[in-house]
Symmetry: C2
Subunit: 276 residues, 2 copies
């Protein structure tokens, strides 16, 4: 039996990871003990505490909130764990499965640059998170490689939610010289960006290209359908289960840190910039 | 420890129910054993088999596929179970939690009728399912009460998925005398209906009112935001846990069948019909 700590269940991002975990668990005849933490530090600590005195053989911890004392204790305990999609940079003694977000950001930017965009805005996630910082590094490196000076007014922080994404995009669209493309650091921000554009009469993709990140189900709900960077969320869950099984079979093996690749999915929200 | 059988995890409908289950489990310090069945009959049977020889004290079975022999056996066993959101009509000896879909359909129809619609189409779910039949009964009864003859060409079956919903809506929109409003039997169908309308240059809500059913997250992703009938999915999960706890505490108590109410949520996709 393995424990699974996950921030939220009613959420397409986490439920995609959880579905991968459940698939692999079914294949290996493992039982899954599920504990959502509701993005709450105190609750995460209490669930971690329960977990280690519990009957699980090991645990997957998805997007742990912070390097809390409880998490540090669990990590140093003999209890086998695998961190999935770490929020903060990890000690390399902890086994983990993550996504190569820098390469994913590279793909997004290459697509926009190849379409001819030069003024590209970014609506990022929360500063400090691995997912934000790696994508930001990819964004800025791609600009530098293309010989485009980084313009700080074009990079606005958000919180990976639609509403904040819409506000951040509204700021970019009201600049004296607005961007012709926006790299939204996740699909929720991209949907917020499209809404902000729609409210201002800015057409997507004719006046503004929008690219997201995740490729979760609502990427294809909106019209036009979202160009985005697909994260292998199901594979993230499946790989985590396999890593944990390996750890249970050979407890003395070296902890592995696996990074999975993303894939660009071009749909209808990106196009060459308008000639002005 | 309680087992939870659920068809899918990567799905906003089921993850909303599961989130309610997880909330209640956390409050009662219960551990959750999760088993997705992937809408697969053989898998559901095997999971049911595992479940009953397993260490769980009882189980919640969400939307069981059919009255399979395994399900019948589990139902007649001493193993305490609660059926959540039954797909088919249940024997009244089985404890269950469901939603009053007929009343929900009544609310949807009352809203459209009050706006002045008389030619109202319906895109239903799969025939035979409780959720379809109860809503269909509500749809037809509301027409009858309003003195509107039921027109069979205005009622088209679908499968609760977006693509089939779009095809069914396209049929309605290409009728010589198309409806001025469509009651989509879930939100996925409503999103498909809006896409079909968009592709034909039919504006929502100016030319066509659309009402959904569920109120899951993507109801507010699309623009315009969807008017819909909200199902209390989290409450469905929470109530199921409480019912199971009651059963565990008093095994000889009468099985209860609880029905929860829906709520109409008026947003931007419904309006009075155009005067022609």
């Amino acid at each position: 039996m393995i424990g699974v700590l996950v921030p939220l269940i009613y959420d397409l991002y986490f439920s995609a990871i959880l579905a991968g975990v459940a698939e692999a668990a079914y294949d290996h005849d493992l039982r899954l003990l599920l504990s959502p933490t509701q993005h709450d530090h105190a609750r995460e600590a209490s669930v971690l505490e329960r977990l280690t005195r519990d009957v699980t053989d090991g645990a997957l911890i998805v997007l742990p909130e912070e390097s809390s004392p409880e998490l540090a204790r669990v990590m140093s305990d003999a209890h086998p764990i695998v961190i999935v999609d770490p929020l903060l940079p990890l000690d390399d003694r902890v086994p983990s499965v993550a996504v190569d977000h820098r390469a994913g950001a590279d793909d997004a930017m290459r697509h926009l640059l190849e379409l001819g965009h030069r003024r590209i805005g970014a609506v990022t996630g929360p500063p400090g998170w691995v997912a934000t910082e790696a994508r930001r590094t990819g964004y800025r490196a791609a600009l530098a490689r293309a010989g485009i000076a980084f313009d700080p007014v074009l990079e606005v922080a958000s919180d990976f939610e639609r509403a904040a994404g819409a506000s951040a995009a509204a700021m970019l669209l009201s600049l004296p010289e607005p961007p012709t493309a926006i790299f939204a650091f996740n699909d929720a921000i991209a949907v917020g960006t499209m809404r902000a554009a729609h409210e201002r009469g800015v057409r997507v993709p004719e006046d503004l290209s929008v690219i997201g990140y995740d490729d979760i189900a609502y990427a294809t709900m909106v019209g036009p359908m979202l160009t985005t960077v697909r994260q292998p969320l199901g594979d993230l869950g499946r790989t985590a289960v396999n890593l944990l099984l390996r750890l249970l079979e050979r407890p003395s093996s070296q902890p592995r840190q696996i990074e999975l690749s993303t894939r660009l999915v071009v749909r209808d929200t990106t196009a060459p910039p308008r000639r002005t």
